[in-house]
């Protein structure tokens, strides 16, 4: 088991490395290929009307005139070992993990990421709880009552759910439940949990439900399909033949096997979401990581975009790792198989 974890960990590191390559390519290589020179590239990292001196400084800082391999190396080592920036009077140490430094706001990106994480975390965790509970239970019920009115209604709703753009659902729910009937606070309101848990939950209800609706729909479909497969398995017949009550058969035997693959999907979804539920946060103007990234892209604050992208990737890698370990724990076959 430890060996297994270790191996997955190594795979995670490789994954991160590749992510850095792609991120690097997107931000440094592709623009160069598309014909932007190093001055132009440097200018992007400063923002509004950069002076030639500033461009020169950024160029040096980012090694933009060095060969591409050196640039990449500096980029990665900067992430891992931290970087230094000249504030004029001092050297600012951007300690590892250094997710960049915004020349636009003269701030390190890392603390800002941490600052927004609770918002995204609140959104993701709340929504995840809702969608898991709703999605899985609806999926199970549907599978058990296959072909019934409930099944058909649930599956049609689920299909509608996966077909609805989240930003549309969000806008409509805002228009109805926040504007016409002001039951919930308008978009953009976020109260920290530590400040007022009730206001925190109240403000997040709409984003939670909106986000959870889509995923609940997806998970209901997945669970239903999984349950249908599982309930047709021989070991379910064995369980019934033992004389187990149907409830035990479904929950202990059916659900466990059906839910195992869903763990993987959930881990990936949740990891991606922790890196920013871009659309939901944009629609509800929640000051989370996703909104942060969107704002940064609109404001051409590339170091921030780069930072969020890397940050998200880290979450995905961690989520993958957790899922792998969890999977091995839940399903004993994996340990030998892998």
């Amino acid at each position: 088991m430890i060996r297994y974890i270790f191996r997955r960990l190594a795979a995670g590191v490789v994954l991160l490395l590749v992510v850095t390559m792609v991120v690097f390519a997107i931000f440094f290589l592709v623009p160069r290929l598309a014909g932007i020179d190093s001055d132009g590239l440097a200018a992007r990292y400063i923002g509004k009307s950069p002076s030639p001196e500033a461009i020169a400084a950024v160029k040096e800082r980012l090694n933009l005139d060095e060969p591409i391999t050196v640039q990449y190396w500096e980029f990665v080592s900067g992430l891992v070992m931290g970087q230094e920036y000249d504030s004029g009077t001092d050297i600012i140490h951007c300690d590892a993990p250094c997710f960049g430094y915004s020349f636009k706001t003269n701030t390190e990106v890392w603390p800002q990421l941490l600052e927004r994480l609770p918002v995204t975390g609140s959104l993701a965790i709340g929504a995840a709880v809702i969608w898991l509970v709703a999605g899985v239970s609806i999926g199970v019920l549907s599978a058990l009552r296959r072909g019934s009115l409930l099944d058909r209604a649930a599956m049609m709703t689920a299909l509608a759910g996966v077909s609805l753009p989240i930003f549309f659902t969000g806008l409509v729910s805002l228009a109805l439940l926040s504007y016409y009937w002001p039951i919930f606070p308008p978009g953009g309101s976020y109260t920290d949990f530590t400040e007022n848990p009730l206001a925190w939950a109240h403000g997040l209800v709409l984003p939670w439900v909106t986000l959870a609706f889509l995923y609940a729909a997806m998970y209901a479909r997945l669970t239903r399909a999984g349950m249908l497969d599982t309930m047709g398995e021989d070991f379910i017949r064995t369980a019934r033949a033992k004389g187990l009550p149907e409830r035990t058969v479904v929950t202990k035997h059916g659900l466990r096997a059906a839910l195992t693959p869903i763990i993987t999907i959930f881990g990936l979804d949740f990891g991606l979401m922790l890196g920013g539920a871009v659309l939901t946060e944009s629609t509800f103007s929640l000051p989370g990581l996703g909104k942060f990234a969107v704002d940064a892209i609109r404001g051409s604050d590339l170091p921030v975009v780069l930072g969020v992208t890397m940050f998200t990737a880290v979450f995905v890698v961690i989520a993958n790792l957790v899922v792998d370990v969890l999977y091995a724990w839940v399903d004993p076959r994996v340990r030998v198989g892998a």
Binding site: T238, A241, K242, G243, L244, R256, T260, P332, R333
Partner: protein
Amino acid sequence: MTDPVVSVSDLRITFPTLEGRITAVNGISFDVPAGGAVGIVGESGSGKSATSLALMGLHRGTNAEVTGDITVVGKNLATATDGQVRNMRGNDIAMVFQDPMSSLHPQYTIGNQLIEAYKVHRPEASSADARKRAVESLDRVGIPNAAKRINSYPHEFSGGMRQRALIAMGLMCDPTVLLADEITTALDVTVQAQILDLLDDLRSDLGMSLILVSHDLAVVAGSVDEVLVMQNGDIVERGDVRRVLSSPEHPYTKSLLAAVPRVDVSRAQRRAQVRAERTQSAPRGLSAQAKKALKAKAARQAAAVEDESAQQRTGATAKPEKSAESAEQPLLSVRNARMRFKVRGGLLGRASDFYAVDDVSFDLHQGETLGIVGESGSGKSTLSRMITRLLTPTSGQIVFEGRDITRLPEYKLRPLRRDIQMIFQNPYSSLNPRVTIGDSIGAGLRVQGESNTKEIQRKVQELLERVGLEASHYNRFPHAFSGGQRQRIAIARALILRPKLVICDEPVSALDVSTQDQVLRLLDELQDDFDLTYIFVAHDLAVVRQVSDRVAVMRKGEVVELNDSDTVYEAPQHDYTRELLAAAPVLDPVEAKKHRAQRAELRRQSTAA
């Protein structure tokens, strides 16, 4: 006489399908006396499995419709509540299923699943008691080191052990009846024998009633008192097992019995019988021309039979008419062939070597049939893939017609592939479901350079007729054919290139007995018609004996015995061969009992030693 523990009357089971309701069981009645053993025998689709599920009340909640009365240990299933039925399952009547891998939940330990079976009916029992009981039960079915293995997961068990574990699970609550549904089908012959012996022991020790469901008459022969033969949902024959097997009344039972390959019938006898039958009835659906050709052939064969029987009297077994040639160069020569696989595992995940085929050598002459027999994992399939060069041997030599083909590159091998062909085990997976059978068969011609579509079609259709199908089937897809028909198609595909050597890898093991018989006959005919040399790989000793001139017995990658087939079967030299033969199920119940005693003896010896 006591009341029967299981009583079924006028049981009728129907399933809805797109084509209307299908009747799986058509009003059958039978009783199982207390402590008695009843066998239900039938081919696939006969309704035997539907019946056994009905005994457990497992059709409840499905769309199957069950009418008639079933009484199990005094409970009428038709009127019992769900709770009562649940209470009965596992407690009064326990069922053991066919596929032990899929019948055990992969994510719980064996112990967990055993204990669960106990506690559901004995909720008052403490966990420690339940656990103790599970260990006992595992011990009872012969799982070594049960106290420790109880914590293992199903995938950590071998197939035989899983089947034992399943039986152990069935025994947890001391059921009055044990219902075993095809429990040995997936097992090797030696393991099968062990499991059957175990059931027998359990029955006599615990006084359980046993219902043994199987497609294989030989499996039930030694284990039950009474047998029911099912066909298309009806019981066509029933009675004392000895009576049914020795003097069957119903034609279906007769044909079934006739089709069962018998380990005690030699190839020569079988050939004689087959050829005699062929001359009498030309296959249906053949053109007049083909029939004429067949008649002529039959005449030749008749002569050959006489010839053969003459030789039999002299005691010669290998094909004597070829004896003159056998001194010449063999068609195929395998020398010291080894096949190594890397196996990951162990504490550090190091790759260790595993020899699937270990130092195998033999010669094969034109027109001869070499049987290779062995249990799963013995390396017989690997060996056949080495000969066809689907695998490249790690070391050793494969010489075909004097040419070393061991390491020929693929492009040089390609023209040679005409000469060595293979017939695969599973007719469902050996045909591409998205390709018409015409194209499947014609593919060989195409890849070998034939581009004339008309010519290909003509040859394929000719061959289709030859293997007993119709030319008009050319454009159909495999799903429109039954298993036996598919195997004919697979045979046609192998023969389209007119190979010299055909390797048959378990060609009939997936088929019902009667179909199996037909396919074997076809192979036999074709060998004569096309002057083929066969390597016939199978796990079934009886089948191998019927078709082989010589037999090689494989075990763990090695050939432990290689001799002409009568010698192997009648005077086996190696212990393992003897063990195999002792384990082979036989149709005669008396003989079967004798074998069982013999096996018990063998086991006692080995444990003593």
